[in-house]
């Protein structure tokens, strides 16, 4: 098992014009260089969020003799030779070539999971309007790509709520290590490890939904399907470039096997679908496989800023009060970029929560935690501007002027998907109830600790950080 040493986010020196728009959107000042000269990335500081990839407009002009050939550039970038879109200076390492080869291997049992927001953005890659919801077509396309099982990260989001909600309640009851921060956003986790190791004890010990599904794919579902875990190829489709980094972390393994073997982005999935000549727009809907494909509305909303918080409160409220939550739709928690705070009455407890959307906004909270003056119990941090809907692996826009409406439409689509679900609370998802009854026992129990929780390590380098 080798730790991932590829920095994942790159800037092509041949194409970069030095406009530094990437530096403007970088939340951690990881882009270095003088204006008008090619930029480079400080890999230590970089949180791999891919916002620079989303912003860059410096493209390779057709037939520029001074440039390396397109075919060679695609190869260097790990992109399929069938990719026709323009190539930009800022890009993320692709894994579609590797995946295409693996999918053709009959000896492997190919399992895929998709993050909540892939289904609200994938269709944009085929020219459909922003936020078009296509879970059925996505499942059908993944089967045509030769996956044996089509699972869902939303299921993992429901598991996360069971574990993280229980952890929050236990910490609030004992008053220990508060505030508690969410740990599902890998870019936030990397930033905490690099720039604020003093808060690592405050992070939830939960792995991200992606890693939880990966872990359950090689244990619970392998057992159900009677497949040897070592024969399974576990793939994740993510809106996020940092998920590639997360999957490669040394500790993300279960009994010596990687939980997630390969991560591709929304854009890379679209490229694979086009490469195979699949008519995505006209695909008849198919469903996800059971049991790791059954999800609640709470799992769905993880993809928008405030979503983890809202999902956690829906379950946390009922775990504490043993009464149904009066209002399922917590509009006061929903919002845009920046910091939002709220107080939620849960029985006798006044739970103080904060949602941070955009990593650059987290510094004031980190300072408060260092001083011991942070007033919140629970803080959700998402590195990208509006949560995963705006992730670095999501469809890239040709026009900056459309960014806001794209994010808005993807978010509304997520919330609409939630409100159309029969089950909207993680703890009421029958597949989750069964998972705990048959396999895990109870949240925070022995099996959960082994499979679903992790530790964080300081990446701070003395003298390097200011």
């Amino acid at each position: 098992m080798t730790p991932n040493i590829d920095p994942i986010i790159h800037i092509d020196e041949e194409l970069c014009t030095g406009c530094r728009r990437c530096a403007e959107v970088c939340p951690v000042d990881a882009i270095i260089g003088e204006a008008s000269t090619p930029q480079s990335i400080d890999a230590h500081r970089c949180v791999v969020c891919g916002q620079c990839v989303q912003t860059c407009a410096a493209y390779a002009a057709e037939n520029d003799p001074s440039l390396t050939s397109r075919a060679e550039k695609l190869r260097q970038r790990g992109q399929l030779s069938s990719v026709r879109e323009p190539l930009f200076a800022a890009y993320s390492t692709g894994h579609a070539i590797e995946l295409k080869e693996a999918l053709a291997d009959p000896k492997r049992y190919k399992v895929v999971q998709c993050a909540p927001v892939i289904r609200v953005s994938l269709a944009e890659e085929f020219g459909l309007p922003f936020g078009t919801l296509t879970p059925g077509k996505m499942a059908a396309a993944l089967r045509l790509l030769n996956f044996d099982r089509v699972y869902d990260t939303n299921f993992g989001a429901d598991v996360t709520i069971m574990e993280e909600g229980s952890e929050l309640i236990s910490r609030v009851m004992s008053g220990e290590r508060l505030p508690m921060f969410t740990s599902c956003c890998p870019a936030w986790v990397k930033h905490a490890e690099t720039a604020a190791p003093h808060v690592l004890d405050h992070l939830s010990s939960c792995k991200s939904p992606m890693q939880m599904v990966g872990s359950l794919v090689k244990t619970y579902s392998a057992e159900l399907d009677g497949i040897a875990p070592a024969d399974i190829l576990s793939v994740a489709v993510m809106p996020c470039t940092c998920k590639k980094f997360e999957a490669g972390r040394e500790e993300m393994n279960v009994d010596g096997l990687r939980e997630v073997d390969m991560v591709i982005t929304t854009r890379e999935l679209a490229q694979l679908i086009k490469d195979k000549g699949i008519d995505f727009i006209n695909l008849p809907d198919e469903t996800f496989d059971s049991p790791l494909g059954k999800y609640s509305g709470a799992g769905t909303i993880f993809g928008a800023t405030g979503g983890v918080m809202e999902a956690a409160i829906r379950t946390g409220y009922e775990l504490v009060t043993h009464e149904p939550i009066p209002n399922l739709q917590l509009d006061f928690i929903r919002g845009d970029e920046g910091i939002r705070t709220a107080t939620v009455q849960i029985g006798d407890l006044e739970l103080k929560v904060a949602m941070v959307a955009g990593l650059k906004y987290v510094s004031t909270i980190l300072e408060q935690v260092a001083k011991g003056t942070c007033p919140y119990h629970f803080i959700e941090v998402m590195a990208c501007p509006e949560g995963c809907v705006s992730g670095g692996g999501q469809p890239k826009l040709l026009l900056e002027t459309q960014r806001k409406s794209a994010y808005q439409a993807r978010k509304s689509s997520i919330y609409r998907h939630d409100s159309n679900q029969k089950v909207r609370k993680s703890h009421e998802n029958p597949a989750i109830i069964k998972l705990y009854k048959d396999f895990l026992g109870e949240p925070l129990g022995h099996a959960s600790h082994h499979l679903l929780h992790t530790k964080f390590f300081s990446r701070s380098v003395k003298g390097e950080m200011k």
Partner: protein
């Protein structure tokens, strides 16, 4: 009725331009809806063909594009009358263009370029001419002249990607440009992160420069 006002044009301020090429990309995006180009980069199946060009020198960078000359030399030399004055803009009828390059040579600004023609996102092949490609004779792709048309015919397009452009201001509903400074502007100007591009309405511009000259006296 004939329009009395001189043609508008877009011009860049070199001091503000950071060379990001967002204007080139936006120009390409709004002109290629018929080629399947929607909002996402992933919908693009052809090379980016802009109608303005970010140029770089040692000391500055700025986009250059058509000035919509009143006595357009490009129109004067076009042997097939493909270049016309239409609703305050000099435009090329791309179907008519024979790719003779006379306009590109006549233009004092280098605002016209010749590229392959595309239809439905694929190279547009000619019925008659053939050329040697990969060791065999294949139908030759049409090559035509492209230049800024001030986002002239974009307003009527109703797909998702165009909504914002109309909103950000390309052209009004009648398809014609309105006054610069507050009115709709072409795609390049609407996306520029540094507001380096301005739609100049000459009567407006002239009075402004006269005033500026007066103040310098």
């Amino acid at each position: 009725m004939r329009k009395e006002r001189p043609n508008s044009f877009v011009i860049a301020e070199a001091g503000k331009c950071i060379g990001c090429k967002a204007c080139e990309l936006a120009c390409f995006a709004v002109h290629n809806r018929d080629n399947g180009v929607a909002a996402a980069v992933g919908t693009v199946t052809m090379p980016v063909i802009p109608r303005l060009y970010v140029i770089r020198t040692d000391s500055f960078t700025m986009p250059v594009q058509c000035r919509h000359c009143e006595n357009a030399p490009c129109a004067g030399v076009c042997p097939v009358q493909a270049i016309v004055q239409e609703e305050g803009a000099i435009t090329i009828d791309e179907d008519r263009c024979i790719g003779c390059k006379a306009c590109a040579m006549a233009c004092p600004f280098g605002a016209i370029s010749l590229y392959k023609a595309y239809s439905s996102g694929q190279e547009h092949k000619q019925p008659h001419l053939r050329e040697q490609l990969n060791g065999r004779l294949e139908r030759k792709t049409r090559v035509i002249a492209y230049k800024c048309d001030l986002c002239h015919d974009i307003a009527s397009d109703g797909n998702t990607a165009s909504g914002e452009i109309a909103g950000a201001g390309a052209v009004n509903n009648s398809g014609s440009l309105t006054e610069g400074g507050g009115g709709p502007v072409p795609a390049c100007a609407s996306v520029c992160p540094e507001q380096a591009l301005t739609l100049v309405s000459p009567s407006f511009g002239a009075s402004r420069s006269r005033k500026a000259a007066g103040l310098r006296l």
